[in-house]
Symmetry: D2
Subunit: 409 residues, 4 copies
Amino acid sequence: MANEIKKVVLAYSGGLDTSIILKWLQTEYGCEVVTFTADLGQGEELEPARKKAEMMGIKDIRIEDLREEFVRDFVFPMFRANALYEGVYLLGTSIARPLIAKRLVEIAEETGADAVAHGATGKGNDQVRFELSAYALNPAIRVIAPWREWDLQSRTRLIDYAEKNQIPVPKDKRGEAPFSVDANLLHTSSEGKVLEDPAEAAPDYVYQRTVDPEQAPDTPELVTIGFEKGDAVSVNGEKLSPAALLTRLNELGGKHGVGRLDLVENRFVGMKSRGVYETPGGTILLVAHRGIESITLDRGAAHLKDDIMPRYAELIYNGFWFSPEREMLQALIDKSQEYVAGEVTIKLYKGSAHLVSRTSPYSLYSEDLVTFEEGTGTYDHHDAEGFIKLNGLRLKTYGARRKRVGGGR
Amino acid sequence: MANEIKKVVLAYSGGLDTSIILKWLQTEYGCEVVTFTADLGQGEELEPARKKAEMMGIKDIRIEDLREEFVRDFVFPMFRANALYEGVYLLGTSIARPLIAKRLVEIAEETGADAVAHGATGKGNDQVRFELSAYALNPAIRVIAPWREWDLQSRTRLIDYAEKNQIPVPKDKRGEAPFSVDANLLHTSSEGKVLEDPAEAAPDYVYQRTVDPEQAPDTPELVTIGFEKGDAVSVNGEKLSPAALLTRLNELGGKHGVGRLDLVENRFVGMKSRGVYETPGGTILLVAHRGIESITLDRGAAHLKDDIMPRYAELIYNGFWFSPEREMLQALIDKSQEYVAGEVTIKLYKGSAHLVSRTSPYSLYSEDLVTFEEGTGTYDHHDAEGFIKLNGLRLKTYGARRKRVGGGR
Amino acid sequence: MANEIKKVVLAYSGGLDTSIILKWLQTEYGCEVVTFTADLGQGEELEPARKKAEMMGIKDIRIEDLREEFVRDFVFPMFRANALYEGVYLLGTSIARPLIAKRLVEIAEETGADAVAHGATGKGNDQVRFELSAYALNPAIRVIAPWREWDLQSRTRLIDYAEKNQIPVPKDKRGEAPFSVDANLLHTSSEGKVLEDPAEAAPDYVYQRTVDPEQAPDTPELVTIGFEKGDAVSVNGEKLSPAALLTRLNELGGKHGVGRLDLVENRFVGMKSRGVYETPGGTILLVAHRGIESITLDRGAAHLKDDIMPRYAELIYNGFWFSPEREMLQALIDKSQEYVAGEVTIKLYKGSAHLVSRTSPYSLYSEDLVTFEEGTGTYDHHDAEGFIKLNGLRLKTYGARRKRVGGGR
Amino acid sequence: MANEIKKVVLAYSGGLDTSIILKWLQTEYGCEVVTFTADLGQGEELEPARKKAEMMGIKDIRIEDLREEFVRDFVFPMFRANALYEGVYLLGTSIARPLIAKRLVEIAEETGADAVAHGATGKGNDQVRFELSAYALNPAIRVIAPWREWDLQSRTRLIDYAEKNQIPVPKDKRGEAPFSVDANLLHTSSEGKVLEDPAEAAPDYVYQRTVDPEQAPDTPELVTIGFEKGDAVSVNGEKLSPAALLTRLNELGGKHGVGRLDLVENRFVGMKSRGVYETPGGTILLVAHRGIESITLDRGAAHLKDDIMPRYAELIYNGFWFSPEREMLQALIDKSQEYVAGEVTIKLYKGSAHLVSRTSPYSLYSEDLVTFEEGTGTYDHHDAEGFIKLNGLRLKTYGARRKRVGGGR
């Protein structure tokens, strides 16, 4: 099978692992490699990746800034759903994979490559997300997952391989990293090694993007986020592009220690894993989006969204972004967002983000309706009696049977 | 209809409003009134209620401490579900009403009363919760809701009525209260008046049970909560009864400013309202329960719970605690909790409660399975390929059709 | 309140009951009445309604053929969902009400009427469906429901009123009708009186639109239905408009006794009722739509549709057609229907409609994939092992705990 | 790996395929084989299986009649849920696999076997169902699936192997069977070969358990089924054990051509397949169970059941009978069935089973409540107004915004 592949597009970070993969593909598959390096806001310079790829003889080197597309077409649609996996996780890694896979497949199609390759391991969710996305977008594509194929499963063998193949090994990569990291504009995740015992608190040095709440400013800071059609469009009155907006919120959240999460989660491949996530801007965004929805969404719409949210989040977590069912749920969600517009103010302080106020030209909140004093006639207290009576009718019938047949509750 | 009622059991707080109701029932219905005053942890002395009731000629005065029953049979079962209404609200008021209704009905049955009466207004959810519970438990019971019947809808008329009827009006009740309050062991809620404009931040003086996070201690505090069968049973190693445990967590949370929520929510009766909630102990408990579940619940069980949670929460919010469907969902939830046991440590600091670690004798977390290094053979990396291939098979077929028929995504 | 109304639009059938309502509105409200009579395929001539309205002094008489709009914009969108209330009911009455309410409100807006009126009783679902639809479309509209207001609740009083007011009473309406009927192009429903005891079989004379299966032809008949974008577009190769198509299927189904249903259902207003439904064309359509979906819908799409279907059906049954949540679900459903196209053949015989075959240019069915013999390499048997292993991993972990802690299943 | 296995328990039918597997296990794995043959009502004699096993040198031969356990502990609990996969399939094959797997594992534990083996192919659902069940019940068990391991994928090679190994090949097995069959007390399923083209009607000879409706009796037959706690307990007044009852219903349904289904379904392993199912008794049972529930289940309970049913059915179809989530759903379902008791009468005629009447000592149906005439005061028509008004309040608010902001529906 290996010898059938003539050209492969590799998701290439420029780091040690994907450099080894690059070499291994050249050697084992004897095929041409196109490297693809994307800026999704991971905070690393991309030019070194170009240099390394050149050094390894790559002719076709693709480097792209996908930050705006990432936030606009992936992060924001997901936030319209208030998506949380297992009640708390903002899906920062999950939502980035489909975009990378999409570009890998597109570049493969442009360059006539037979396959795409990625550096995700055989135990994680990312392999699933990359591959399901790729198969959905191009059923004929081949996917090479070196971590599942080679025998370089230990750090030592990996370093050996690098040295044998003249791949430079940075000093700090010689030993074991105490944990592994994934980052993009939405979040930084850390897992493995020092984090593997869920009974042990995560050490301070794991956190990279948020200040320790104890070290955060002693004075709270208010931030006002503007929304249109369910998406954030401004911060403190300044209109910003999607990526610029999320970057701004990351700075604000990071400064105040907002968005840390220590989680044991259930992977799609079947085991539990423990991760530490930092999602400063996203955490603020969720509070703000729920806030603006609270005055602009009808109850029926809001509750329907809440009911389907866990399923939507699970689909993204499991790698089914490019699936008909995710797209159907997205259609449902997007349908609800037309008037989700207005402004929300959030207070940031020492690790928390609390909603303070919200306002909208499309507000469904009515002081007249809700006021304790008699209103202007829009609400008749007597209606409540009939409402309760008929809601209770079946319960009465049910209760009467229970009385009759003597069953307990 | 009014003249048919001979005896009514009134939910009596001893405050001005329910004292006026008491008098009004005696006058309008000409019936005997049994007062029922319950300690649900609202933090008020109950003896003054007895004195007032005696002064108003009540013969049958019932005063009960229901705190343990409240937490054990209502709060804890609800927390097994991780219930949140509209994504954020811990249902502190909603969960107390069914218990009060239950005791009202039971006392009515004991004393041969024809009816029960409550002081909830005609615009709120509480009338629904009281009455649906009452009808479910005793289909023949009559419910009197004076706020829907009388013409004392304004404060002035209410005070007039009190004065005409020799009901003492405390000085601070003469004017308009700036907001109204409901409290029990789980939470304090405030709403109305100064809180009616959701664009205005809630004033500081609204908060009663939690310190302002800015005034909270500068040093974090760790608290360890022990669980058995899904319920909290100990704090920092000390076994506590349900009510004592929640009281302890309230102290800890309140001291650190944990559990404040400013929310615009959708009432069952059809309008949006804005409330400020303080749920210090409950907020800690939710984090802790999710934490212990994260290592002891199977993924299938956890996701099913997440999927049905919004519906369960809505049922409680809407007043359907005593309904077959709530009981069916409870059976589902309880079925999952047998091994939800162990300890969780939470860090409290300046308004937030973050999970730090968790441990359980029934943990489903396996370091061996998850470790990056090759494990002991329980996981074969090659299995992932087949797993992905078959999960992707339908997506490939679907993608192939899209390629063939030329449709966009 | 009554005297504020100057003009009302009445849903007028021309029958005795709505004629009495017409007179009652003129008398009690002293207002101008605009009559609205719609052809939804109930199989009655409409001109007599015009005559009667004229005789009663109506100036503005509206008679409309809404059959195409009914099927195209209401019935077909609902069938895209395979909607069944309580597992079996095709919602024939429920789906007609929103359209009538919509036209009532539109005519009220055109004619400057203050109110709309309908002849639904105070115990049924139809009042809810009419009124929720009206309120959603025009929040300022007033709705008059004479059956809830007047004191003509018994047949005798109704006839008396008619005679006093010179309303002709047909002979067959003098006595009690043995049951009441509602009909439109989708179905005929019968309920009340002779049907009120669910332990008694429905008498033969109740059925009006379908032949008794025992009297149906002894020879089966095949019918082929063509679909495009989820909607039926042809019968036996002949392209037909929506209403013409449903009419054709009704003839075919009725002839073969297809589509009878004897049901005790749960009304939204809280009680159970027993109805007999005849939905000949709709029953065929459901089988056909499921059939064409079975080869053209992806599994993820199909299962998501099945999961939300009961909720969608309940919304329609309860009168929430014009609600944001129904529209959101519709968006989800419609999103799935683009390639639901092809042909399905159904065998009609003595009361049943069985799918015989289906074909589609967009079929996702692959003989190559499914064949028992080795295929062309698209499916690798070995993938199944990994698929099962990883699907089973959490169950193994869970099972291992059970073995360890000694719990039963 | 193969050589580590010393003893294996094989699900053995006595047929050609599992006889070949038996020999292959003896040869390839060189291990002792224990055969397990179960009577699940497939309608075949089991003694020939014993003879064949003896001939092949098997020492430990297990033959068990599991019909009662099958119906009581698997079929009936599933029918409490009204489970239908993809809207129509009664899960006849799916529900049998967990029981066989359970006994295989138990026998393996009793006999000290290392592994279990089954004859399901690598493309179907049954392998998944067997193996997930086995792993859930005994995480240490090994599963051998010869169809995924060997190279006997074609009929010719299989026959060759049999002949080389002195396994008698019945004449009718020499050629290709025109389709393959699975049967048990709940159903007979047929698939493959002549059924592989979903555009072709299934040939008559495929059907084995039900008469062609056209050949069924010209006279309808009524059957009355009694229920207790959600399970059928009697037929026409005669108390019957679960298996005897289902057998009786199968006879009745088969005679009248009831329960045929021609379906293209979505397999868990990712492809669509076409099957023909005959479930005569089960089809009657579903109608009857829905019928008795219609008068004994509260609406809230019934709708909750309907909402979770597709998920429950999918779990069973996919092989997750022994999973915590299926058990949680079962707890929810079972909780609802206490008063699902009474009698239902069904008319069987030429391929259809129609409910005729139902009665229950626990009926929640009330003629007094539902009657068109004024009842005895339990229902006040005026309550409906308040009920509708408050249900419509949010829709009014929503409609008012639409009017204001000028958006379309």
